[in-house]
């Protein structure tokens, strides 16, 4: 192919028409309280893994909601499943169950397989 000296930029838009938004329903089946999250960040503020690594549980959850799966499984693997986040959540979201089930759903979607 010819080198034009410039490239056609890829869209970086969060495209709600093409994103896989249905995967979220599979999480909701397992963890109905996930719907209640209002993204306040109290969980992330208290999370030990978040303080020492790039891991941000709230953001992972949001990205999954938006159908953005790339790199998520790797991030989620940084969680220790300690459950501290669950203690502070003002909406009573079962945070730990979200992380656990997200990994399973992502694995089913062929993002970083886990053997169960």
């Amino acid at each position: 192919m010819k080198n034009w000296g410039f490239k056609i930029s890829k869209p970086r838009v969060l495209d709600f028409d093409t994103a896989n938004l249905d995967a979220y329903n599979r999480l909701i089946e397992k963890v109905p309280s996930a719907h209640r999250c209002l993204m306040c960040g109290a969980c992330t503020a208290t999370c030990t893994a978040n303080l020492h690594t790039t891991f941000n549980f709230r953001n992972c959850h949001l990205m999954f909601r938006r159908g953005q799966f790339e790199g998520l499984a790797e991030e989620l693997d940084k969680c220790m499943l300690c459950g501290k986040c669950k203690l502070v959540c003002p909406r009573g979201v079962n945070t730990r169950a979200i992380i656990y089930n997200l990994r399973i759903v992502l694995s089913d979607l062929n993002y970083k397989k886990i053997e169960l």
Binding site: T48, A49, L51, H52, M80, L81, C82, L87
Partner: protein, 358 residues
């Protein structure tokens, strides 16, 4: 401390039995801090005149396995039930688990049975089928630190030393660290509640010391089960300990007091790791900040021999602290075991300073 503070903590009081205890030992403490449990039994029997049974038939509570998701809760309940049946064999009703993790497990199991009676029936059936045993739920579960807290005034009467610098007459400044599973699972089972437990602070203040309130006081010691037990997470474990020490450093604590095997272990040993990894110690002399169990502290103030209490097997050496309080000790005895035999001298760390030649 202002008055509102005192009042607030006082809202969390718990019942602690007076006498006739069944002691449940920790799996790990006897190798990490070998003098602590013995000291506790001695204090209860000789100083306070209490009856406490130290039973040779006991076993794990599954705590570490349970919290790392290796042991299922059904199994944990059944194993705890067997321990309760041993207590019943001794015709005792007051259960005293040495370890904070175990304390958390027992309170969780009993609370589960209270709220879900069908789980209790299931456990009874499992235990019967597996061992033919029956059990009664303890009337009182108290952590040994609760008992020392309860009798802190009586013990003070018998103490030879105080938490005071004997040269300057100033109170020693102490960081207290209560194990997470002591109060963070059920705050009403903790003296002082979950956020501001009073169990160790009460001992320190009663015995003449001053409690340091530093920003990361409530933060985890760094053990955190998953943080330490999984090799890949171990970096978090040290990072958390480091965060605590960084936060307490400017207060220049004389020592750290803990009531949980994990906390004592990690706050003590990770100081070595941090020193060897980053060349950093959190005291002025490069020797680290001593970390004591409450039994060791009580024993020291009561005048027990520091080497009988096992202080020589700590990572951070405690001579500087003994000198401050004015406790007499014989350096030549340090590595002579209880049997009178030489127990060997540990290797000298490269960076963390110690006052022995290994």
């Amino acid at each position: 401390m202002n008055t509102i503070k005192k009042h607030f903590w006082n809202e969390y009081q718990k019942e602690i039995a007076n006498d006739n205890y069944y002691y449940e030992r920790s799996c790990i403490r006897q190798s990490f801090f070998p003098g602590s449990e013995t000291a506790f039994l001695k204090i209860l029997r000789d100083e306070l005149g209490k009856k406490i049974i130290d039973d040779q038939h006991q076993h794990t509570c599954t705590g570490i396995g349970y919290h790392s998701d290796i042991v299922q809760f059904d199994t944990t309940m059944t194993i705890c039930a067997r321990l309760f049946s041993l207590m019943s064999d001794n015709e005792l009703k007051n259960f005293v688990p040495s370890c904070v993790t175990s304390f958390g497990v027992f309170t969780e199991v009993v609370e589960t049975w209270n709220q879900f009676p069908e789980e209790l029936e299931k456990t009874r059936k499992f235990l019967r089928e597996a061992t033919g045993r029956e059990f009664k739920i303890p009337e009182n579960i108290a952590h040994p630190s609760d008992i020392i807290y309860k009798y802190r005034k009586e013990l003070k009467q018998k103490m030879k030393y105080q938490l005071v610098n004997h040269k300057t007459g100033k109170p020693l400044r102490v960081v207290e660290h209560t194990g997470c599973h002591y109060g963070k699972i059920f705050s009403h089972h903790a003296v002082g509640g979950a956020e501001f437990p009073q169990v160790l602070a009460g001992m320190i203040e009663e015995w003449g010391g001053e409690v340091i309130d530093y920003p990361e006081r409530r933060h985890c010691c760094g053990f955190g089960f998953r943080q330490y037990l999984v090799m890949a997470n171990r970096g978090y474990s040290v990072a958390n300990t480091k965060k605590k020490f960084e936060s307490m450093e400017e207060y220049k604590p004389d020592f750290v007091l803990t009531n949980c095997p994990g906390c004592t272990m990690f706050m003590d040993r990770w100081q070595y790791t941090i020193a060897e990894m980053e060349g950093k110690t959190y005291d002025d002399n490069g020797m680290g900040i001593p970390v004591l169990t409450y039994e060791e502290l009580a024993g020291l103030l009561l005048g027990y021999n520091p080497w009988d209490l096992g202080l020589q097997v700590h990572q951070v050496q405690s001579e500087s602290l003994l000198d401050k309080i004015g406790i007499a000790y014989d350096p030549a005895d340090k590595f002579i075991g209880k049997s009178g035999k030489f127990i060997g001298i540990p290797e000298k760390p490269e960076i963390l300073k110690v006052d022995y030649d290994g």
